[in-house]
Each structure stands twice: as C-alpha cells, then as structure tokens.
Amino acid sequence: MDVDLIFKIAAVGIIVSILNQVLVRSGREEQATMTTIAALVVVLMIVVQKIADLFSLVKSLFQF
C-alpha cells in the first residue's frame, strides 16, 4: 500500500495553505486562489491515477 501518498498530499496541502495565507495577507488574493487551484489540479491528477488503478483492478477481478 502506497502510504507515502497520504503524507505527500497532507504535506502539500499544509504548504499550499501556508502559501495561500501569505499571499492573501500581502493583498494578492487572485494569486493565492490560482496557487491553490494549481496545487489541487496536480494532487487530483495523482489521485485520479489511483482511482483508475482501483477500477481496472475491480474490472479484472470481478470480470465487469
């Protein structure tokens, strides 16, 4: 089981939240939003791969 992925996503989430707060306090709300969205997209791309792996495993095992 790829446990590192949990730590990766948690760490990226915390770092992006800190970045978000720093940018908002500097008065750059749009850049803060863009940074959050970009990080979310990157993390979702990783998670979507795991979801695809899960579904192909289910398909092969249960002969869907």
Binding site: V16, V22, S26
Partner: protein, 171 residues
C-alpha cells in the same frame, strides 16, 4: 540518496530565489535613498552655486557609489561629449543603460521627467523640477520602506514553501 540530494537542491534553489527577491527589495530601497540624496545635492548646487549640468552630474557621480554613481557618470559623459544632445535624450540613454537597470520602474519614469525639465527651464524652473522629482521619489521610498519588512518575509516564505511543495510532489 540521489533523490534526497535532488529534493534538497530544489528546495535550496526555490528558497534562494525567494531570498534573492527579498534582497532585491532591500537593494531598491537603498538605491532610492541614494537617488534622493543626489537630487538634494543637485538642488543645492543649482540654487546656490549655479553649477553647469555636466560638472554637477560629474560631482554627483563622484559622491555616489554603485549603480547611482555609474548612472550620473553616464549622464555627465553624455552631456560633455558635446554632440548637441538634449538633457532629456542623454537621461533617456543613461536610464536604458546597465547602471539604471536595477532602478525601480517608477524611479526611472521620475528621472526621465526630471531630464525633460532640466535642460529647458531657468534655474528656478529647474529647482521646481528637482523638487517634484524629490517628492515623488520620497513617496516611493516611504512606501517601499513601510512594506519592506513584510515583502521580504513574504518572498522568503514563498520561495521556501514553493520549493518544499515541488520537492514533495517530485519525491
């Protein structure tokens, strides 16, 4: 091992970029301070000694160091060459040179406007042009000085956090 070294390099690179930006902010404040001091000297030279512009700018170049001194030196050389270039044209060339590359954009615009005034008016008009430039640069310097600390902190934090995020994603 290699991956850890790579991650460390990414973090250091991003943090270095953040630190570089924050140093640039401090450097800009220093340049503005030097420009203000040189303009104050220019004002007193015009008011009390009626120094011609080539000599005045040469004196400013001697008294200031670094990029500001090089800038005034270029202006002085441009005025001495005697190619019938206007003060505005000489200032424009000096502002697009290497020495003025690190001046804040607003400071460059202010100096360009000053150049337009210096060669065209009498002494009183020139003093008013210098006063206007001084008030603009003063405002810019106050703004930068008030924001300097928070900006430097922001840039450093941004650099380190971006580096960490990249390293974690790539590891």
């Amino acid at each position: 091992m290699l991956r850890t070294i790579g991650a460390l390099l990414v973090v250091m690179g991003a943090a270095g970029t953040g630190v570089g930006l924050s140093v640039f902010v401090r450097h800009s404040a220093g340049i503005l301070q030097q420009l203000i001091m040189s303009l104050e000297q220019m004002k007193s030279e015009i008011l009390f000694r009626k120094t011609p512009l080539p000599e005045l700018t040469a004196r400013l170049a001697e008294n200031c160091g670094g990029e500001v001194g090089s800038f005034w030196s270029e202006v002085s050389d441009g005025l001495r060459i005697g190619q019938a270039r206007s003060v505005c044209e000489v200032m424009r060339r000096a502002l697009s040179g290497r020495a003025a590359g690190s001046f804040p954009a607003q400071a460059r615009r202010t100096l360009q406007n000053l150049g337009a005034g210096l060669g065209n008016y009498d002494a009183a008009g020139q003093v008013r042009a210098v006063d206007l430039a001084l008030s603009r640069l003063g405002g810019l310097f106050t703004e930068l000085r008030d924001e300097q600390k928070s900006r430097m902190k922001s840039y450093c934090t941004l650099g380190v956090c971006a580096g960490l995020a990249l390293a974690i994603l790539m590891l």
